[in-house]
Subunit: 139 residues, 2 copies
DNA sequence: ATATATGCAAACGATTTGCCACTAA
DNA sequence: TTAGTGGCAAATCGTTTGCATATAT
């Protein structure tokens, strides 16, 4: 294992991810970082995002998309993904799901990932355009 | 919408995905397909896998990995991912999770994705090698 | 007959990596 | 001082696509 150095770049990247609730992509973090540090490179952003994930400081998400999103909140929590506008928000349950007691096989659940899909409040009303499924069912 | 032709390639690819419970990757399907049809192309495999997903004949999964896996069972069900050997198996619950009644916000859940992580039965005992986290924490 | 699918190879986009200079410890 | 890190550009890898040909319907 390597010992981490707290460089300006790493500090900045962590601050950016922690400062937003928008569950940003690596490229969004890169664009933000460049405002503060114009010469920062995309490779550095990727490297540090990975390091921060491994350190447990942030969390990596990925929703079938071809790219990852990052979450400044490393605690296990759930996400709601709007299938119209792709926005990702946090979502909570009234009670713990308690999956371990409900699972049929006697396997030990160490952790799990749950993502909820639907229309967010903004897209709820405007369910017009027939965009029931925004995927590539076109042509 | 386009009308689908039932080509030999599409039939073969569907049969391959349906015939296994190993939740194969596109490349695994390609390798299998080549045994039957040596000149089939990887592009055709990808194209047909996508078509079959859109038709609802199979399901696309993706677990943080950089690549997708496919599942011959298109019905909504849950997966157990072994964090040691990466194997993906189906998993069931004794009772429905009933997320809609437990969610705090009054959003409507249209569908959800849940993945369970832990050690499969084979890797359970052999939790030796300190491979608690098989990721890239090496070097 | 003809629109859709194929094989092939080149393109793509997100992410990773090799290299050498730099800098935090 | 020195091992980890940054910047840069090239490489990688899964996946997609353009194009001319083949084939289901």
């Amino acid at each position: 294992m390597s010992k981490h150095r707290m460089t300006k770049q790493k500090t900045l990247i962590l601050a950016i991810v922690k400062s937003t609730t928008c569950h940003p992509t690596a490229d969004w973090v890169y664009q933000e970082a460049r405002k503060e540090m114009p010469k920062i490179s995309l490779g550095t952003v990727y490297r540090n995002l990975r390091l921060l994930v491994e350190m447990g400081a942030i969390m990596e998400l990925n929703y079938g998309s071809s790219f990852s999103r990052f979450d400044g909140n490393p605690e296990n929590h759930y996400h709601f993904v709007c299938i119209n506008c792709d926005k990702v928000t946090d979502i909570a349950f009234k009670e713990p799901l308690d999956l371990n007691s409900k699972v049929v096989d006697n396997v030990e659940i160490l952790f799990h990932r749950l993502e909820i899909y639907g229309y967010c409040k903004e897209c709820q009303g405007s369910r017009k355009q027939g965009t029931e499924n925004k995927s590539r069912e076109s042509e």
